[in-house]
């Protein structure tokens, strides 16, 4: 039976080239659209991750904390969850940095009697998916160390980033779901139309004693083959567009600022699998409805 089904499926594909091309192209477009969104999402998330890495927590100590305690405090902070590294910045170094930063106004600092700046630690965090909540809790824990006078981190930018990222994520999920539903529906519709053009054939097969399974299986095989072909076409086109867009972007904009990536092999396989599932699902939905009505 199985080779017979494949024989039928391949015959049908070769005989209904137009119909099959339509389904495959539809799936290819679905893959291109969904894929390009995923690509966009992956790469912009990359950019935001880059920015997140740039965020530091400054910990200022009381002036009267003795120098011998510094390593101990540093160790304590290093051991906290989420901390990547802790750099000690002595008051002297801080003044130097301040002078550098102030550039134009450096003259202000020329004639100081003593360095009024405190010793400090600069903390960099482990990049993570939910850094904003973590920063806050980390800051709270650091604040419990008695020698710490004050903690500073870019609250203003943090709010903005955190907002942006939330908007991104929400839109990302919404788009993802939307695209998936849309793909399944469009594919199901296309399959339904294809079935509709072949309703006579299906009816005839039933009348001569073919079971639903005998009729259905070649359709499923056809749909899955089609959608696999569509998926491969989609990924290929996506890759070509990606490469050509990238070469334009790289020329125009600071190249090497971030690494724009295409899908990994795993994600590509996943997309292919998804498109095959979409084809299967479209076939299933249409056939289910169709075999009842014919």
């Amino acid at each position: 039976m199985i080779p017979l089904f494949f024989k039928h499926a391949f015959r049908d594909i070769s005989k209904n080239k137009l119909l099959n091309a339509v389904s495959a192209i539809t799936i290819a477009f679905s893959v291109i659209i969904t894929g390009s969104f995923i690509l966009f999402f992956i790469n912009t998330t990359d950019i935001l991750n880059m920015w997140k890495k740039g965020i530091k927590i400054m910990v200022y100590l009381y002036p009267e904390v003795p120098g011998e305690m510094i390593p101990e405090i540093q160790k304590k902070i290093s051991g906290m969850y989420g901390v990547q590294d802790v750099r000690f910045i002595s008051k002297g170094e801080a003044l130097y940095i301040l002078k550098e930063q102030m550039k134009r106004q450096a003259s202000l600092l020329e004639n100081l009697r003593e360095n009024p700046l405190p010793d400090a630690f600069e903390i960099r965090m482990i990049p993570s998916s939910r850094p904003w909540e973590k920063i806050e809790s980390l800051a709270a824990r650091i604040d419990e160390i008695p020698q710490v006078e004050e903690i500073e981190y870019g609250q203003k930018w943090l709010t903005r980033f955190s907002y942006i990222i939330k908007v991104f994520k929400l839109t990302g999920y919404a788009f993802g779901i939307l695209f998936f539903i849309a793909s399944v529906f469009i594919v199901a519709n296309t399959v339904r139309l294809v079935l509709y053009t072949r309703r006579e054939e299906i009816e005839i097969m039933r009348l001569i004693g073919a079971s639903d399974g005998f009729i259905k299986v070649p359709f499923y095989i056809e749909c899955v083959i089609q959608s696999a072909i569509g998926g491969i076409i989609g990924i290929t086109i996506l890759y070509l567009v990606f490469v050509s867009v990238l070469s334009n972007v790289e020329q125009g904009v600071t190249s090497g600022f971030i690494n724009v990536r295409f899908f990994s092999f795993g994600i590509m396989s996943l997309i292919l699998l998804c498109s095959m599932i979409t084809g299967w699902l479209g076939c299933y939905l249409s056939l289910k409805h169709f075999l009842k009505t014919v």
């Binding site: 017979l4 009348l207 001569i208 004693g209 073919a210």
Partner: protein
């Protein structure tokens, strides 16, 4: 003829109606077919001949009444048993119903394939029935490239390709010239001799006269007294 003897009945219809809206295409049909009978259903255009055949092969349900096939009540058949039941019938449809996207060979091959026959058996069977209707040299043609009569002959080949118990033929010679028609009737008689039951719906009294067999007459959905022409 022994209509009363239900022992040998293959098909029995009791008070069968088929309604389309208010219109009754079939009205209180009581009809028995014995095993290995050769029956003509005669009647003018729109009499209900095709509808009667449809009820037999489960193309449509009866609106009222009972139809038994080999003791099985057709209206009680579960959906998944229908394909199996249909394989008892070899149907020559009035409008042929060939699949345009499949070749002559593939169209005929569908029947033994659907019945689960092996590739070699299919090949052999299809060739033999195509030879019987004189269409073996057109086996790779598509139905739409065939003449009306050629299509009809392919439809006949498909009907007999499953070695059915019953052949239901709806106007099987309507598109054929006298010579081809004679050939086809010989073919159907051959099946009859080898044990098949044959039911032929036709408006062609000439054909009935030439062939001979039991005749039932339908008019406006009602079955008249059986008569032998």
């Amino acid at each position: 003829m022994n209509i009363g003897n239900s022992e040998n009945s293959l098909i029995r219809m009791f008070h069968v109606y088929r309604r389309y809206g208010k219109y009754s295409a079939l009205f209180d049909i009581n009809f028995d077919v014995q095993k290995n009978e050769f029956v003509f259903i005669n009647g003018p255009s729109g009499a209900g001949k095709t509808t009667l055949l449809k009820l037999l092969y489960l193309g449509e349900p009866a609106s009222e009444g009972q139809i038994l096939f080999d003791g099985i009540n057709l209206s009680r058949l579960t959906k998944n048993k229908i394909p199996h039941m249909r394989r008892n019938f070899g149907i020559i449809f009035q409008e042929f119903k060939l699949i345009p996207s499949k070749t002559v060979f593939e169209n005929v091959a569908l029947v033994p394939e659907a019945a689960g026959k092996s590739g070699r058996q299919v090949q052999k069977k299809v060739s033999s029935v195509l030879r019987a209707v004189g269409m073996e040299d057109r086996q790779n043609a598509f139905p739409l490239t065939l003449s009306g009569g050629e299509q009809q002959r392919v439809a006949i080949a498909r009907a007999v390709a499953g070695d059915p118990k019953v052949i239901l033929a709806d106007e099987p010679t309507g598109s054929l010239d006298a010579e081809s028609a004679g050939m086809i009737m010989e073919l159907l008689k051959g099946f009859h001799i080898r044990g098949s039951t044959v039911i032929i719906a036709t408006h062609d009294t000439e054909l009935i006269r030439k062939t001979g067999g039991r005749v039932v007459y339908l008019k406006q959905g009602r079955m008249q007294q059986p008569s032998n022409l």
